[in-house]
Amino acid sequence: MTLVVETAGLGKRYGRKRALTDCTLRVPAGRVVGLVGPNGAGKSTLLGLACGLIRPTEGSIEVLGDRPAASAAQLARVGFVAQDAPVYSGLSVADHLRLGARLNPGWDQRLAEGRIRQLGLDPAQRAGRLSGGQRAQLALTLAAAKRAELLILDEPVASLDPLARRAFLRDLLEFVAELDVSVVLSSHLLGDLERVCDHLVVLAGSRVQLAGDIDDLLAVHYRLTGAGEDLDDLPAGVEIIQSEQTDGRTSLIVHSAGPLRIPAVDPERIGLEDLVLAYLTRAATASVTGFAAKPVEARR
């Protein structure tokens, strides 16, 4: 299995502040990976490390089998759109395409021009006068026409209105299918990513809480609801992620690698949103109590 991102014990500190801690990930190729977590969880740090803008303070990271930004060839294989999609405000849309063509050996001018036409952008327009959505599209066009093997998008839709958000993501899915690239995109809202991702990484409190293909993750998590005593004695290997008490009944969200059989309790499948929320809640509680949760990774 080829990996687009592989990290081991990866960490980044700014002075005494930990932006990312002990991050170990294996992201397979051909996925659209959603990186979810609250603001300040370390998403931008992880993406910055993956594209080589930031250097790790500990651990290691390999992207497409090489150190990020190690060489021009490695830079050519990874397309990156930073948060807020920075572009040169004084340069026109056409200038940006020329920039892309001059600085990238694998540049696909046909693709770039096609996208600009399709988006209805005026090539003579200065990038500084584009709307947030148009700027994001221009930045994405630059990254896409580079014909990279991996696209990294940091909060690509955060500054867009709901309509532009939908259009951007639909557009992204279209050309991901067309170009056969892997994509990692981050958001603090799961709702943005749910429709486009098939692999998920949940970050909170600078640590990875959950990572895996979404189908696999959903297959190993259950909701158990019952009277308190029914759930006191869970089989070995079952980990409680979240526990709620309402009206004398207990509702658990648990992780279990194998099939789950508990007398008098019927395990239910849960949705992605509930699953992510359970892990984020656990992380938030852990950061208050000082208990560090072990990340869960689903494997085939």
Partner: protein, 329 residues
Amino acid sequence: MIWLTWRQMRVQTLTVLGALTVLGIYLVLLGYQIRHAYNTDIVGCRPDVCERAKEKFFDAYDGPVGMAGALLIGAPALIGIFWGAPLITRELEEKTHRLVWNQSVTRTRWLATKLGFVALVGLAVTGVLSLLLTWSASRYDQVLGERFGALTFAARNVVPLGYAVFAFVLGTVAGLLVRRTLPAMALTLALVAAAQILVSTEIRAHLMPPVTTTVALDAAVVEAADGFSVSETDGLIEGYEIPGTWSMAAQSQLFNADGTPYTFEQAKPCMLIGPAGKDCLAKLNLHFGYRHQPASRYWPFQWIELSAFLGLAVLLAGFGFWRIRRQPS
């Protein structure tokens, strides 16, 4: 990469080239004017009116030559402030470094192209300015005879090139470290000004050990000196300078032919009013040591200063290349 650098610098470069053209035309006209004045008023002037003619000549061209010189001395600082400091900080402030550093070009090559291209433009601008001023003011400098003067030396021939490249790289590296445009500009200005002042007041005179030659006090030397002073123990000649050389001492002690110090007792007979006193002094067969940098060291000094600042620029650039790869962003 060169295209991008040019595209980002286009407006500024064309503005500077426009200003340079205007200034160039002015300097050429000034040069012809000075040459004309020199040929008609100074060359072969009658001894009785020569001093007066020179005074008039200096009065007329002090201003223009001084202003152009000041501009040339200020040019490196301007290049450092407006081209060097924002080179990286503007990208950081607008976050466009996250765009450009993720194209298929390493940061090293990005910085190398930027540094190389802008340094060449800076060199060309300063070089043309220096060449024109050096030509334009050549007759003026020749009559003045102070090629080592603090403001003259640093604004003629090749030395300005060294300052320009140094200031530009310094500005860039300051921007890389400070990461914000305005503080980087202020830091660049302070450091470039400090370097220029320090070199002209403290360092340049010591580039080579000064030479001391013995000068016999004859009528011509007495005439050339600003004045004399004597005390119980010694006598001094003040303000004497051989044209074209750089005097290292404002005054030198006078000695008799046998090597004993010339004193007040001996000076008494010559304390006469007017030319008679000078004639008397010139006949005493005195001599003194003249400590100076000889005129022949002008070009070695120019090359040493140029190489030193180019060397500093290379070291700074090396640091910049090392730093930019570790730059957290």
